[in-house]
Point group: D2
Chain length 401, copies 4
Amino acid sequence: MKKPAAKRPTSSSPGKVREFPIALLGQKFMGKAHSNAWSQVARFFDLPLEPVMHTVAARDAAELTAFARRWGWRNACADWRQIAQLDEVRLVDIGTPNHLHKEQALCMLQAGKHVACEKPLAATLDEARVMHEAALAARRKGQQTFVWFNYRRVPAIGLAWRLLREGKLGRVRHVRAHYLQEWGGPQTPMSWRFEKKLAGSGAHGDLNAHIVDLARFLVGEEIECVHGAVARTFIQSRAAPAGTKSARKRCDVDDSLLFCASFEGGATASFEASRLAIGHQNDNSIEINAEHGSLRFGFEDMNLLWLADGDGRGKTDGFRRIMCTTAGQHPWVEAWWPSAHLLGYEHGFVNMAADMLRQLAGKKPEIPLPDFEDAYQTQRVLEAALQSARKGASVRLDQVR
Amino acid sequence: MKKPAAKRPTSSSPGKVREFPIALLGQKFMGKAHSNAWSQVARFFDLPLEPVMHTVAARDAAELTAFARRWGWRNACADWRQIAQLDEVRLVDIGTPNHLHKEQALCMLQAGKHVACEKPLAATLDEARVMHEAALAARRKGQQTFVWFNYRRVPAIGLAWRLLREGKLGRVRHVRAHYLQEWGGPQTPMSWRFEKKLAGSGAHGDLNAHIVDLARFLVGEEIECVHGAVARTFIQSRAAPAGTKSARKRCDVDDSLLFCASFEGGATASFEASRLAIGHQNDNSIEINAEHGSLRFGFEDMNLLWLADGDGRGKTDGFRRIMCTTAGQHPWVEAWWPSAHLLGYEHGFVNMAADMLRQLAGKKPEIPLPDFEDAYQTQRVLEAALQSARKGASVRLDQVR
Amino acid sequence: MKKPAAKRPTSSSPGKVREFPIALLGQKFMGKAHSNAWSQVARFFDLPLEPVMHTVAARDAAELTAFARRWGWRNACADWRQIAQLDEVRLVDIGTPNHLHKEQALCMLQAGKHVACEKPLAATLDEARVMHEAALAARRKGQQTFVWFNYRRVPAIGLAWRLLREGKLGRVRHVRAHYLQEWGGPQTPMSWRFEKKLAGSGAHGDLNAHIVDLARFLVGEEIECVHGAVARTFIQSRAAPAGTKSARKRCDVDDSLLFCASFEGGATASFEASRLAIGHQNDNSIEINAEHGSLRFGFEDMNLLWLADGDGRGKTDGFRRIMCTTAGQHPWVEAWWPSAHLLGYEHGFVNMAADMLRQLAGKKPEIPLPDFEDAYQTQRVLEAALQSARKGASVRLDQVR
Amino acid sequence: MKKPAAKRPTSSSPGKVREFPIALLGQKFMGKAHSNAWSQVARFFDLPLEPVMHTVAARDAAELTAFARRWGWRNACADWRQIAQLDEVRLVDIGTPNHLHKEQALCMLQAGKHVACEKPLAATLDEARVMHEAALAARRKGQQTFVWFNYRRVPAIGLAWRLLREGKLGRVRHVRAHYLQEWGGPQTPMSWRFEKKLAGSGAHGDLNAHIVDLARFLVGEEIECVHGAVARTFIQSRAAPAGTKSARKRCDVDDSLLFCASFEGGATASFEASRLAIGHQNDNSIEINAEHGSLRFGFEDMNLLWLADGDGRGKTDGFRRIMCTTAGQHPWVEAWWPSAHLLGYEHGFVNMAADMLRQLAGKKPEIPLPDFEDAYQTQRVLEAALQSARKGASVRLDQVR
């Protein structure tokens, strides 16, 4: 019997794989998802850098101790600014609420760190622009930025991207995307998510951000024009949160927002986000109709991609149900289980962590990772939709900066 | 052995059921569908009026003789105007191309006939308005008008209408409708459908007409505003029709048109029609999200309605697959076969013929039939969408007449 | 204006198409389905023989008059034996309960008629054998027999048959078939269907008959052995029928019967029929796994066929949803509506009537029609399953005659 | 900034949660799945025992070092028998090939360890019986046994179990289960899986084991009789494994095996396993029809359960699609992500590890864990099916020990 490694059994032998210390800001839902990604990634992927879970920072110190222990962060601190001083930390991962992203990202870029930020990039377009510019400046010094648009790393989306890039499907003509949830009914009490000054917007920034990113990513073009938009706040006040005694609170963000748009190459698109679509729990769905075929994806059946590549005149044309768990279908499949052993929600984060570490080691992954510039473009589209809803008119993207 | 009836075995005994002579204009696709409806309706339904297939009129006399024989029309004539002179004819059924509807309907209303017209009501809003006004005038003389929006008589839509009218689902918040087909690719040669002066518009008038009607019918409200629209002609020229020698022809109608809208009560809506959506053959689909539940229908699975009526917090909430073939589910089900014996496309026409004959006998059917006024409202929405696409701005329906 | 034909507008011109007089026995569910088939067939199909609805026979004379009028039968009679005397009648169509089939078929074959009989061929294997032998004798005199296994004429099944015959899918390895309904719970009162002396068996003869026929038809081989079977009568007594005063009645037929079998070529098969499968209304489903592909069909989505023809290692392999309404897919599609306009339950009967009339005119249809011999083979399989359930042992088909 | 814990940041504070050292035998597919379960379980669940990954044993020492490092096993050894000597190890987890299970389990039970064993319990019924008896003896000394039937811990199965135990669905009448895969075609080279002396059986022991366990578990009764079975070896020889030079090899295990059975309470059942069902990748499916409702599950859509609980006469009866990711639906849901964030294959193992640790701490989980006795009962059913296939006759379970 022998001990495989003196102290840190999960590390690989020194000399081969460089250690790569990471810090995380935030310990809520995204803190958990990112911690899981950093702790799982080296178990399933062979990587050129070994992620070291160096320090986690968050406000609630009591909670934080337990969190750090649970997830294996070596250090914990209640003041995120201290992270900037830690020379050995290479990547700072921001999983805090949207209104903190700008300050934190700027501080860490300033300190010479690589930065990975949760989506949406920022609460407003102005903040996003500043972040994008800071990222450009940092890029010249070799720093990289990432935005956690995790759905790009879902297996079925990886296959869809490959099929579209191969070119056999031809030019895209239509995109139809919606992100529908049902939790936002009147029985749901007030929270920061319904308050504009904290959340920026409602379903729009939360959900349309994902599908606008997915559409731009899959089509491989920018959106040129928003042709019209409607926003609605159906539930205009809510009970105060459980445990608090105050009166009902006013909600000032959208419950839903939908809009029509078009891409540079002429494809039309529709986007809709809602928290009031009963029967849809986490229904992030997109369909693309191209010249020679169509693709359809829905996150509630996230291991499936549907492809129609005939023209309807063949004897056996029709949408095909592809289970995206087979070797060769997408870049991450071999890391996991044998064919047809399904993946779940958190695997997208782990896949993304793997691609980030590879890119940080100089190996650009096959499927592009979103950076601050990319996320800024998505934010411009969201802003154009807000303006279009306000004005009752089309808004060209070249008017939105 | 005895003969059941001297001459016309399909007629019921005189004295009980009045004969009701009908004339048909047109012998193409819709001529066939309407002829089938008039010949099947008395076999499956018990009716207060017995439809008599009196005369069919169409231009191609040679073809017409065979058509009349095949379908049991007692008379045939090549000049549709003669129908106006036939005193005994009570209802004239117009199944001709759109640009003929106005002249034919006006002539027949003038002659005192009830008129049933194929959708869309007319090629332009101006024509539709004139027809609507003529129908109003005729109504004062006791004449009725109908428009063949046959999808209102699909079983699943009948059940959806009932569920919405019962009120348990509450107010509608979102409508999402699309009508997608795939036949319009570049390999399809030129035809009247791609020429504006003959067809009025492309996918918009053909397909959006159906889903705008369905949405108005199910929601039970009028659309108040079109918030933005995009139209596209992707295939700008086509080969001349087979058998002709001319050069390629220019197409000047839309291949697709999508738009956002809102209803009087505040519900948002999106509509999209396309002939270039590979994998969709006749995909007329609508989903409605209301306060307390959602409904989903797609014509490619026309015997099914999907209903979600929990709020997602119950242990067994979710969309339910309802096969709409059970006694009591909708007004037409008992006329056909035992439970779970599916119906098809043409049954909507037969169901509609039954309801028309009942209404003509003074018995208003439970589920409302579309008349010229109703179809004119749909046409106003279509026009508003065209204007919105042209202007790049919202168009309020009260500005469109 | 001109009259298309003096008396019978539905007939084609004499000299071209021979009239072909038909008589029908029965006026219940199957009487209605067959009447519809004979009245619709010449409207949708171009046929070498014109079906003439000559006479219908059934016991209840009052009801019969209305039935004959409604469906256009020229004559009606209460004594089915008189039909044998009608020289002009060429084909006798038997739509009566199972226990009458033998006597009626033998009488009509004796009288020189062609005979079409509802399924199952007979109540017992002994009766079926006698009928089969009578059909063989009559065949030598040029008489034809048919059995209304209508599911063979569902579009998706037509396409499945073609795909299997083309040979690309290779040898069949597995068949999995079930026919599940839900109406047979304890709340359903007594009827002849639950009484052995009237019905022969329960779900087995009613439902397994269909799927055994479909399996034999699609595989193109005979079943060689039944390897084991289980029959169950879960509801052992039922309330007397509504309107009668008697006590509860004992049920002595199976509510469900399932069995394993194998085909001559080695393929394995399972069959299950039940009237107690909640959520399944008319779920006649079959899946076939062959060497190079699989096919799946369910009658509740009867316009769809699912085909998987990769081997799971291709990047886009998977089951494909084929809407079976496209020109060229199956022999009946062009008779009906344009692509993607769905067909329903009764269309299988109309398609079968068309193929019968063609075969009677000497034109063998592409897809074989079941005759008495064919139905006798199905009945042997049903009998083998009953014996296997009784004995608790395998039963080879060569032991069952 | 402070360090959350001196050495082992993932451990909870001493005094509260006892450490619980575990050893693992095996480093292949199941070694990976079990290692992941032990490393993830304390991150997502709050547990009374803290799993310590003490030692992993496997033959290939070179491979083992990397494996241990990757997964965080503190020690590694090439001789599994040494584990028995490690006093501190409390639970031995056996993830080796089937033919090793008996010797390893007996050795570890002898040494006073709790034992968790991969399924199937053993290669033969004789071995399984001996293991069951050893477990009974060990139980008297307080030792527990477990068998990794991981599908019992899939969320949708947890909900199904609860719904069946609540009793509203009534008695079970039918079970229909199949486990179909497609990888076993002739292009797949020889491996131990096709050799009887190594694998025991083919698809039967590998796949039917899972669905027989699931059926017994969900129904909550034992199987009483196997009524007939068919086994087939379609591919009788295969190419030698890549890299070896020998001639083709004979395969002597089943490619598929199907059988009919019945439960003590009278419910009928069918089971089918195949590796030759194209289009099915990992299709472990089960449907249960009970008196008042039906449940349906398929592993390829593992986050969904389908429930039909009407009787088909209600206006909105039908199968309901339940996404099993909502708080309260099953015992493991709160440990993971918010509603509707899907789980994957490996989560069943983590859920099972959590329940084992709770039971080892004396807190019996709501949903029962399979032990050696339970797995022995499953093995008796598999043996009965093999005997039935051989004999061509029913086999009662009371004849199989």
